[in-house]
Structures are given as C-alpha cells and as structure tokens.
C-alpha cells in the first residue's frame, strides 16, 4: 500500500490534509469537505491496518471532520444551517492556508540556513595578556562542580527522550498492612532497623516511618527509647485484637 511509504512525510494532520487536497486536485478556496473527509478517514484506516500507531493529533482533526460531516447529515432549520454549517469549514480552510504559509516560508529559510553552513568563521582571539593575575578565577571547587553539573544537564537535554522509568508507589496504608503482617516474624523486642530492612529507596523509608507513627498512635506498636537514644519496638495493646 502506497500509504506505508508516505506516513513519515507528514508534519501533522494539517500537512496531511494539504497533501490530500493537492492529490485530489481539490480547490482549497471552495473545499469539498466530503472528499477530504473520506480521504482522510481512508488514510487513517490504512495506517491502522498496517498496525502503525496513529498520533493523537491526527485523531483530533479526524473528530472535527466527522463532526462536520455528521452535522451536515442532520436535518436542521434553514436559517441555522446557514450559520452553523459554513463555520467549521471556513475555520479549517483558514488554518490550512495559514499553515501552508509557514510551510512554504520555512523552505526559503532553510535555503538561507544551508548557505550559512558554508560560511566558516574563526573564534574570538583575545590578545595576549601579560598580567597573569587577570586570569585568576575567583571561586571555590563547589562553584566549579555546579558549573560542571550545568554542562552535564545541558548535554542531557540534548539527548532524545527515550528513557522510560517506572516508580513503585507505596501508600502509607499499604505499608501499615505490610508492617502488621511482618510482626509475626519479629521477636518480642526489636529495633527500628528491622522494620526498615526491606526498604529500597528514600520514599519507602519515609512511607515506612509514617506507617510506624500511625501504628504507634493506634497502640499497635509500643516503643521505648534507651539512654543511647536507640528506639526499641514491641507489640502494643491493640496488637492481636
């Protein structure tokens, strides 16, 4: 199917519509919405048949086209028809023409851009300075570190957004249940660390701490602090109820 090759060529739904208008030799100033809508739908269907992902932007415009088409099919009072019915079409034509302007001018701009690439310039030459002290840089290593981080962040921004990551969201409520369940395996008296043993990151430490506070408040856990400020936990009065 010829569409397969063409899919990547379009810059968006408006670009696609302009292509269809050219291909079908439609008059943009007297746009046949019927033909455009049918062609547009055919194109989107072809994409889906090929199991290509259709970007949401294309579907938004598709919805607009279908809405227009369906409104036409509905019987309406004559005077209303006149108002409602030309409007979305005019709007679309205006958008298409406006977009075409920037598309065309961008070709002219690109020519200048490419010409500019052929013109090479030298970097700034600063005349030799005998006074070395002028080149002393004030600041501490941390300022340097900060600057380096800035450079790295910039480099990071240059890289495409390909990374995906997932975070495990753990609610305090879930953690309370987890802690209650784990009490069975713990001795009569145990340390703070034992409740934290399965935490993998900072957010889990925080959630666990909040869960412990809740459990202590509900007298599910009892706690004591010794002279060395070590915290010990035991089962509270609410345990086992």
């Amino acid at each position: 199917m010829s569409f397969a090759v063409e899919t990547l060529k379009f810059e968006g739904p408006l670009d696609l519509m302009l292509h269809l208008i050219r291909e079908q030799k439609l008059d943009i100033f007297d746009l046949d919405m019927e033909v455009l809508t049918d062609q547009y739908i055919a194109y989107i269907n072809a994409l889906e048949e090929l199991r290509l992902e259709v970007e949401s932007e294309y579907l938004v415009e598709l919805a607009t086209l279908i809405e227009y088409k369906s409104k036409r099919l509905l019987p309406k009072p004559v005077e209303n028809l006149e108002d409602d019915y030309e409007d979305p079409k005019e709007k679309l034509v205006r958008r298409l023409l406006e977009y075409q302007k920037y598309k065309d001018v961008s070709a002219t701009l690109n020519e200048a851009y490419l010409q500019r690439q052929d013109q090479l310039a030298k970097t700034l030459s600063i005349p030799d300075n005998d006074n070395e002290e002028d080149f002393m840089v004030e600041g501490d290593p941390y300022a340097l570190l900060k600057a380096m981080n800035k450079v790295l962040r910039r480099a990071q921004m240059n890289r495409p957004l390909l990374t995906k990551y997932t975070t495990r969201e753990l609610s305090t409520e879930d953690r309370i249940l987890e802690l209650k369940a784990s009490l069975i395996n713990l001795p009569e008296v145990f340390g703070f660390e034992e409740l934290l043993s399965d935490c993998r990151d900072l957010s889990e430490y925080i959630v666990t701490f909040l869960a412990i506070l809740d459990l202590a408040k509900d007298h599910f856990l009892s706690f004591s602090i010794d002279d060395n400020e070590n915290v010990y936990f035991g089962r509270g009065s609410a345990y086992g109820q």
């Binding site: 408006l14 034509v93 920037y102 701009l109 690109n110 013109q119 030298k122 921004m157």
Partner: protein, 210 residues
C-alpha cells in the same frame, strides 16, 4: 561636533565612495589612524562573535553613522572576487566569514563535521515564532496542529529560541522568541529582513470568507 556628521541615510552610494576617498574622512573620527584599517583589525579579532556598529563607534570614538559607513565600506571591499573572506551582517553584528569557494578546500584540510540539519518541523516551528513572536506554545500548536513541547525544548537547547516573559492570558503561559543566534543562522541582520509571508488568503479568497 557630532551634529556636523553626515548620516548614512543622507548619503547615496556615490557620496559614500567619495567621502571615503577624501583624506579628511579620517578626521571625522577622533583617532588619528585610518579608521577602516582599525575596524578591519577589530573585526579580525572578534571573529564569529561579530562586532556591532555601536561597539565600533565606541572603539573609534565616532558616531554611529560613521561606524556604519566604515562597516559598509569594508563589506563592499571584501565582496570583490579577489578576497577569500567576506564581511557579513548577521544577528545585529558584522563578522568575517569565508566565502563559499573556500569550503571544499577546507574539507581537504580538516575533518569538518557536517552541522546538524534542521528538520521540517523545527523549521516550521522557528518560522512561526520568528513571524509571530512573542508567541506561546499553545498558539504554535494551534497553527501547526501538532504538539510543540519537545520541539521548543530542542530549539531552546540549540540556542535558536528563548523564553521572553509570560503572556497575560490565563495560566500566564511562557512566551517564546528567536535569538540573535537564530538571526545569524538564517543570514538575517534583524527580523525585518525576513522574507514576506506568502499571501494566499488575500484577493482570491476575500469574497469567499464574506
């Protein structure tokens, strides 16, 4: 003194040439050395950073108009075929660059990396910003019919656009405009030099939209 200077606008091309030839031209500048020779040297030093007319005027202790004439004289001089470099006026400043003929020979000497081309969507986004600036992301998206967030970030990283305050619209969205680097990259001195937008919706469509 400054009032006696003839402005560049008052002079036609012929007058500019004559003005430069007469020895007294140097006297219009407060330094005793040939201002054009000095300007050439300064332009050599600044390289790709370029020299603005007001900077040259300051260095030569002369008027803005005089400095402009000096720049234009140098530009005319290097426009001739017997020079390998030329003076260009991009991004509100003047700079020496090599002529196109030099490029293929430079490639024999150096491993010149091909500079990153701009994608069609990058060009369209830049065009919209350049003609409509300052403009918000949503306005750009409306015009192109596609999301612009990633593209705006890319163009910002490349230094071609910058944030320019916030719109008064609800949510106070960020406004974007093009940078001097954009002007330089597209051989423009100022935005006034942008080519006219094609007018598709004028004569033919006027009756259509009524």
């Amino acid at each position: 003194m400054a009032n006696s200077y003839v402005t560049a606008y008052e002079m036609n091309k012929k007058e500019i040439e004559r003005w430069h030839k007469i020895p007294s031209a140097c006297q219009r500048v407060a330094i005793k050395d040939d201002p054009q020779v000095v300007a050439e040297g300064l332009l050599y030093i600044v390289g790709e950073d370029g020299l603005r007319i007001d900077q040259l005027a300051m260095a030569l202790d002369t008027s803005y108009e005089n400095a402009e004439v000096i720049m234009e004289n140098i530009k005319d001089k290097y426009n001739q075929d017997n020079y390998g470099i030329e003076l260009v006026a991009y991004g509100e400043s003047y700079k020496f660059v090599t002529k196109k003929v030099v490029l293929s020979y430079a490639q024999r000497l150096f491993n010149l990396t091909k500079p990153q081309a701009l994608s069609q969507s990058a060009l369209e986004t830049l065009a919209i910003i350049a003609y409509k600036q300052p403009i918000t992301r949503v306005e750009i998206e409306e015009l192109r019919g596609v999301g612009a967030e990633v593209m705006l970030r890319k163009l910002q990283t490349r230094g071609l656009i910058k944030e320019a305050g916030r719109s008064e619209a609800p949510g106070r969205p960020i406004l974007y405009e093009v940078t001097k680097e954009f002007l330089d990259s597209f051989k423009l001195y100022t935005l006034d030099e942008l080519p006219d937008l094609p007018a598709y919706d004028n004569s033919e469509s006027e009756n259509l939209f009524e």
